[in-house]
Symmetry: C2
Subunit: 345 residues, 2 copies
């Protein structure tokens, strides 16, 4: 049986958790300066809240992708990143952050990364306007890119984020509609769509060939799917301290993910029926049903299978970079894949 130590050995994890995109240290420092000195101060009465949410220890994975891919797919030798890549990096982070703020209302999440959610620390009304403000500022930056294809790509991302949230709400505790197609589609909508938009757009800003653009899109999509699958696994195998929020939150809310799918698909009829009944009980307070369901899922071997599924998406993502030059940027993207598989938070 694979346990947390085996999936994410602490020695490796600690090393990888310190992972920074070493190829873009200067660019990332510049991005932070732009966020701190330019973006946050113009948030008016929302300054304190925007600072709280934008500076809460997020790893800036999505904006980093814009900057790394911007470098990797550059066709010029000098001055590889254009100012537009920084706008792209920012707008990606803003959309991600806005969606977190609104999702926390929808999911009634009380904490994120170990800190109170905005709607808990302030209130729901502040959360609504803060999310809207971030979406609006992302739109302003989208206009600055002067590229209609990217406008369309990110408009689709906004639509996908909504569809992902709606599907998640619609299919809570719904075992009848739980299948790989629905799960992967929802994971694309919720997560991989924004990853893919970022990596594709970073290439578009470099006027890359359609083939490379397609590779970059698929790289982002596969990376994003792996990210979401690991996220879903962490709901089971992480700790509240590492996760910054209670574990089994998804399962308790009836959000059925890869581990549940594997456990239901690969178990015998008796175990399958037992797990189905536990899920359909909707885990009433005071009952032990949640813990029992977790035990069945764990013992089915679903955690290893889920981890391997994520791993296969990382491998596909890495393959998508074949046509791009082997350099420090590509190396960082491979390391990012390792980080996603090893992360604990």
């Amino acid at each position: 049986m694979l346990n947390q130590e085996e999936i994410s050995p602490y020695s490796k994890a600690k090393q990888i958790l310190n992972f920074q995109f070493s190829s873009i240290q200067a660019e990332l420092a510049q991005l932070e300066q732009i966020i701190i000195n330019e973006f946050i101060p113009q948030a008016g009465p929302l300054t304190e809240i925007i600072k709280y949410i934008l500076m809460n220890g997020g790893k800036r994975i999505r904006p980093s992708l814009a900057l790394v891919i911007g470098n990797l797919s550059s066709t010029s030798q000098n001055n590889k990143l254009s100012p537009k890549h920084y706008e792209l990096a920012q707008l990606t982070e803003l959309i991600h952050t806005a969606s977190l703020v609104h999702d926390d209302i929808l999911d009634e999440a009380i904490s994120r990364r170990g800190k109170d959610s905005i709607h808990v620390k302030w209130d729901t009304k502040i959360s609504v306007i803060t999310g809207d403000f971030l979406f609006a500022q992302a739109s302003v930056k989208l206009g600055k890119l002067e590229c209609n294809e990217i406008v369309c790509i990110y408009a689709d991302v906004l639509a996908n984020l909504c569809i992902g949230e709606l599907k998640q709400a619609q299919y809570r505790f719904d075992i009848a509609n739980l299948n790989w197609d629905n799960y992967l589609e929802k994971s694309f909508h919720k997560t991989a769509s924004l990853f893919a938009a970022t990596t594709k757009s970073a290439g578009l800003l470099n006027n890359q060939s359609p083939e490379i653009i397609n590779d970059l899109y698929n790289f982002g999509k596969n990376l994003g799917l792996a990210f979401q699958i690991i996220d879903d696994l962490l709901d089971f195998i992480s700790t509240e301290k590492d996760l910054g929020k209670p574990i089994l939150t998804d399962l308790k809310q009836g959000i059925l993910t890869a581990p549940v799918l594997y456990a239901l698909n690969d178990s015998n009829e008796s175990i399958k029926l037992n797990l189905t009944n536990l899920i359909q009980s909707r885990f009433p307070d005071g009952s032990n049903n949640l813990k029992e369901a977790e035990k069945i899922i764990k013992e089915s071997g679903a955690f290893e299978k889920t981890f391997n599924l994520a791993k296969s998406y990382i491998q596909q993502a890495n393959n998508n970079l074949k046509a791009l030059p082997d350099n420090e940027y590509k190396k960082d993207l491979f390391l990012l894949g390792d980080f996603i598989l090893a992360r604990l938070i």
Copy 2:
């Protein structure tokens, strides 16, 4: 003293309330068909809610502006409206509707146009995702226009809508910061910005000259300011039945508008002090302070002055159309000005 009958004589109002943009009856019918047959059905699990909010008897003033101005500023003789004008009309209505849904959460409004608000009929979470969905679909339509200038214009509108709401919240009961600059700026952010975006963009889609584009922008801005000023007046002089929500809602919440500004600016010190004290009491439940404040404002002559302010913006708006041809479309826009001044709801 001017009363409601004088400002909006019922005989005239009834006639004008039946006002339809007669020059674009066919286009409006087509727009309704697109909304009913194409837009609403693709809202998935939100279909019922989106239908409720999009088909709630709104007058479609903003999308109508896109269609009328699209015709008025057309440089071709046949087939005056392009499919893009219909996209513009829709996205304008979607942004307007999305902002209403989120504003109703912020303002704790329990009803709109005589019907329950979404967050009352459903809940706040549904309101958040419904607004986000409408904003996202508006972005998708924005991309379809393939015009970066319009993307930037509407991105600014989204930012302005947030700024308007924030300023309104920030300055509640704040007499020290109540002045014409702040009031008109807030009215621009909340309302006129979207009107101006629509009229300008309708001209941009026709590749009109910079002079005409500027005229169209100012037309929309002045019309929007008049619209907001009348909206603020109706909070005092309308009835709950006509307004579809309780009167004096703004005043009770400390949203200080043109009538309050006139009453404070043009009254003697004793009356001014009295009104200031009443406002600063924040109208506690059980007190008569709200009614007393209303009486002072009414007796100061502020309603007539507010009405005349709106009228002057309509006159400016009409002047902005001078360079455009005199035809049925322009006639409808003049009638719209009359309607805005005469409307009771």
